[in-house]
């Protein structure tokens, strides 16, 4: 079963009740509707689809992805503004203008679209749109509110109920947005259509009703509302390319002295804790970037001592270009350090010894011999880190968000576009840019590596 992310908590409980009554076990894939719908059309092996809005259901109907006669609408949700528990709560839409950062789900994600509709209907969109931080799914926005990284967020009423660290400031009136209904239907590709229908009947029935209502949903059959086309705000490809290059360049330059220092330390020195140090440095290479991003947010977020200290210095990390650069650097740093270490290790230590005997001390020997001999390899490391920074996604979306014109890099823009299947052309422009820049970087890396080897080829002989 493919189901909207906002049903994550409740549907398994319904399925449990269904199984207890002898129904077949159900397996779920929860994600943003905007990602599930294309999967359903591409032939995901699933039977049933719970959409978070009409637009995507219509989209599926048009592509023959669902059996139209099986469509049901019996679940409704509300749209609320939440604040971190204990924080001052805005009394109504007008008060949102004073909120420094307002978290929303992505603009093509239903929750993100409903939120924009509601803000437009209440006349505050133009005033708050520059404070908006877009997350991926509605759960991402909720997490930022729960951690106090943002002043407020717009999420579903059911999400607010499931998260103890937030409190509801107010609920948007129903007439400010399209009804938040969850149309459900059997997929055309289903191999168990009868079973899928039976589950739908059960979910719409009295037993499931109690479960849904306890989770904050409203239950009641409704007809299909007049469809609304997804009004996607398309990411600007030029801005994404510019931000990507800036983020990657910033990460590469800021990381340069650190990578050289660590690379040198690991190549030429033995010390207690070397294994620990190299493990910590290399960890992001094998950790999921999302985990790296989460840890970075914990360490550098506005509620951590370090994050507060940096903010006091005017260095705001979360949701800024700086944050995107930090995320990109953290994930690219292992490659950076490894390449620099290899470059130093390739330099015959005997050159340094000769320099010492010529009366040149350690520090000046490093500057006059080790560093210049390793330069092509070090620059190759920088190029590799640059390329990795360009490809960064997971850590960036968690630490820096997906803010158009500020932190939306090529990778984030492509991700956003994939949720709006209409924008094929821009997607291809960005994919092309991404591939071109990455390949150019790799070609540069190869050339520099070769140069490093050539530089060290000559020694002795005779």
């Amino acid at each position: 079963m493919l189901a909207a992310a906002s049903l994550t908590d409740v549907l398994p409980r319904v399925a449990e009740a269904w199984t207890r009554q002898g129904g077949a076990p159900v397996h779920f894939s929860f994600d943003a509707t905007s990602r599930l719908a294309p999967q359903a059309v591409e032939g995901a092996p699933a039977d049933l689809f719970f959409s978070a809005d009409e637009a995507w259901m219509t989209w599926l109907e048009e592509r023959g992805g669902v059996v139209k006669s099986t469509e049901r609408r019996f679940l409704e949700n509300t749209l609320v503004v939440v604040v971190p528990a204990g924080a001052p709560a805005p009394s109504g839409p007008a008060a949102l203008v004073g909120v420094a950062k307002l978290a929303l789900a992505g603009e093509n994600v239903p929750a993100g679209r409903y939120a924009r509709e509601a803000l437009e209907a209440t006349g505050v969109w133009a005033k708050v749109k520059d404070h908006v931080i877009r997350g991926g799914s509605v759960r991402g926005a909720l997490e930022w509110v729960a951690r106090g990284e943002v002043g407020a967020g717009i999420v579903y009423g059911t999400d607010a109920l499931s998260e103890a660290r937030v409190s509801v400031a107010f609920t948007f009136p129903e007439d400010t947005h399209q009804p938040i209904r969850y149309p459900a239907a059997v997929l055309t590709a289903s191999r168990h259509p009868a079973l899928a229908r039976a589950f739908l009947d059960f979910a719409a029935g009295p037993q499931a009703r109690g479960i849904f209502e306890s989770a904050g949903f409203t239950v009641g059959e409704a007809a299909k509302a007049p469809g609304s086309a997804p009004h996607a705000t398309t990411p600007n490809p030029a801005s994404a390319v510019r931000i990507s290059l800036m983020v990657a360049l910033l990460a590469t330059l800021a990381g340069f002295p650190v990578a050289v220092a660590f690379g040198w330390l690991l190549a030429r020195h033995d010390f207690r804790g070397k294994v620990v140090l190299s493990t910590v440095v290399l960890a992001p290479l094998v950790m999921p970037p999302v985990v790296t991003g989460f840890l970075l947010l914990s360490v550098l977020g506005s509620r951590s001592p370090l994050g507060r200290g940096l903010a006091a210095l005017g260095l705001q990390v979360p949701f800024t270009l700086l944050g995107a650069a930090v995320a990109a650097l953290a994930v690219g740093f292992p490659l950076y350090v490894l390449t620099v270490r290899n470059a130093f290790e390739a330099v015959d230590p005997h050159y340094e010894e000769v320099s010492w005997t010529l009366g040149v001390g350690r520090r000046r020997t490093f500057l006059r011999v080790s560093l210049p001999l390793a330069v092509p390899g070090i620059v190759a490391g920088a190029v590799l880190a640059f390329a990795r920074a360009l490809g960064e996604f997971g850590a960036t979306v968690v630490l820096a968000g997906n803010v158009e014109g500020r932190t939306r890099t090529i990778a984030l823009a492509i991700y956003t576009l994939l949720e709006a299947p209409a924008a094929r052309r821009d997607t291809w422009i960005l994919v092309g840019a991404s591939v071109a820049i990455s390949l150019a970087a790799l070609v540069g890396y190869e050339a520099l590596s070769r140069r490093q080897r050539r530089r060290l080829e000559v020694r002795g002989g005779g």
Binding site: D348, H350, Y351, E353, V354, S355, W356, T357, L358, G359, V360, G361, R362, R368, V369, P372, L373, R455, L456, E457, V458, R459, G460, G461, G462
Partner: protein, 214 residues
């Protein structure tokens, strides 16, 4: 520059080499000493101990009255304070620097660099990179680099091996003249009897991990 009196070398060191540990004693007041012996005996390691770059060395090294390595206090004078002119067998010219920059690495003036280059017959190569030198040319540049560091002790490891017969004679004569003129003590490793006869007053033989006077 070394004075007229030379306190000699006293060295009792052990080096835990993987193949066969080296335990050597060398006491000499000769100004020029040749060390001969089969290859792989550890001759180059002895020069590394004197140069101060052999970290595994344990024991005592006293050169011209100065304690460089002390077994009781463990004191080590770092290589950059020893002022030895070390020419390793591999020469190790800095590949990113020109001949001129290699020669002047320790800080000789332009005039000194050019004079030394002329003496060693590499004056026409000053702007080349080591990559484009023959083995014999590299040896002479390495020799010049060591001489230009105003050494208190010269350590030469097979310094003429890549030179042809005629040039070998000329260069070793030049070196001999320079070390006498400048009163630079010398420790020389060479396979060639002609070299050692021309340059060394005293000969030591290193075999099976021990050093004995010949």
């Amino acid at each position: 520059m070394a004075g007229d009196t030379w306190g000699g070398i006293r060295m009792h060191v052990g080096v835990p080499l993987a193949a066969h540990p080296l335990e050597v004693s060398l006491e000499t007041s000769a100004r020029s000493v040749a060390i001969v012996g089969p290859s792989g005996a550890g001759k180059s390691t002895l020069l590394r101990v004197l140069a101060g770059v052999e970290h595994r060395a344990r024991g005592e090294v006293v050169v011209d009255g100065a304690v460089w390595l002390d077994p009781s206090r463990g004191m080590v004078v770092p290589p950059w304070e020893r002022r030895v002119g070390w020419v390793p067998q591999e020469m190790l010219l800095f590949p990113h620097l020109s001949v001129r920059e290699n020669l002047g690495f320790a800080g000789g003036s332009d005039r000194e660099v050019e004079e030394t280059a002329a003496l060693l017959q590499v004056g026409h190569l000053l702007d080349r990179r080591p990559r484009r030198l023959s083995g014999g040319e590299r040896q002479r540049v390495a020799l010049g680099r060591a001489l230009l560091s105003a050494p208190r002790l010269l350590l030469l490891d097979e310094p003429f091996s890549a030179l042809d017969r005629a040039l070998r004679k000329q260069i070793s004569a030049t070196v001999r003249r320079l070390i006498v003129e400048r009163a630079i003590p010398l420790v020389l490793i060479s396979h060639d009897d002609a070299d050692t006869r021309m340059l060394a007053e005293e000969h030591w033989h290193l075999r099976d991990g021990t050093l004995e006077p010949l």
